[in-house]
């Protein structure tokens, strides 16, 4: 099996706030990420697709197609947007890199028709990233309901 990974960079704003918590709790739990004016990141998305190369083309999937899918599904939704207000898929969720990765997984999985989606990795900074993968037997459940 071969894994193919494509990167996409997008820039977006967010902040963390749960209306069910008091102002104090929000500050305690989310720290400076609770700043209501928001702040931003240069996110880096790495999408990995796994499969056997087609013997005729030598490709698991056409990277041009994957690039277009990422452009349509992710960049157009999230690039230069405010994740708390402008991305319907994140509505009602705290826009952490965990939740962003899970949302991107769900957007991409039905669109990947050659090979299968293996991993979605979202870097919020070079020192922090989230991975979303398919649960294997015995692994922890991940995404929030």
């Amino acid at each position: 099996m071969i894994r193919v990974t494509r990167r996409l960079e997008f820039s977006a704003a967010h902040f963390y706030h749960n209306p069910k918590f008091s102002a104090d709790e929000n500050r305690r739990i989310f720290g400076k990420c609770n700043n209501p004016h928001g702040h931003g990141h240069n996110y880096i998305l790495e999408v990995t697709v796994a499969g056997e190369p087609d013997p005729r083309t030598g490709m698991v999937l056409d990277l041009k197609e994957l690039k277009e899918i990422l452009q349509r599904e992710v960049a157009e939704r999230m690039d230069h947007r405010h994740l708390n207000y402008e991305v319907p898929e994140l509505a009602g969720k705290i826009p952490t890199c965990e939740n962003i990765a899970a949302v991107i997984w769900q957007l991409l999985e039905p669109k990947i028709t050659k090979g299968r989606l293996d991993r979605v990795r979202v870097y919020e900074s070079p020192d922090l990233f989230a991975d979303c993968t398919k649960e294997t037997n015995g692994a922890h459940r991940g995404a929030q309901p």
Binding site: K93, Q106, P126, L128, R141
Partner: protein
Amino acid sequence: MSPGLKLSITRRYRFAASHRLYSPAFSEEENKQLYGKCGNPYGHGHNYVVEVTVSGPVDPATGMVANLGELDPFVEQEIIEPFDRKYLNEQVSEFRENVPTTENVCREIYRRLKDFPTARLERVRIEETGNNSFEFSDDSGEAQAAP
């Protein structure tokens, strides 16, 4: 959000430390052959980068697998404080007995972090330099430093 997905976060930390690769189980000649310049008796150092991966359910209230407000101080206390700007062979007790290869450092860091209370420790990966890295995940149920 659909079940069946697994989420983890990975955080990178840094510490600088010196070490020397030398084992009293071998003769001087064998040490020289095995460890080469890494056995220089005065030691040498690295800027270590430690990647810590934890996994678990995403808490719907916070959107998080683990709150960095808890993970960062835990790693600071368990790893950075005892390892940063230290001579590993002498100043980290485990390496008075075991050679502080980055394989062993990796397992020791895993052992020290595995009881992180709010998420499951998935993997510890260390970049000893930009050109080499070591990874330990507890696939076998084993999480002890080398005997």
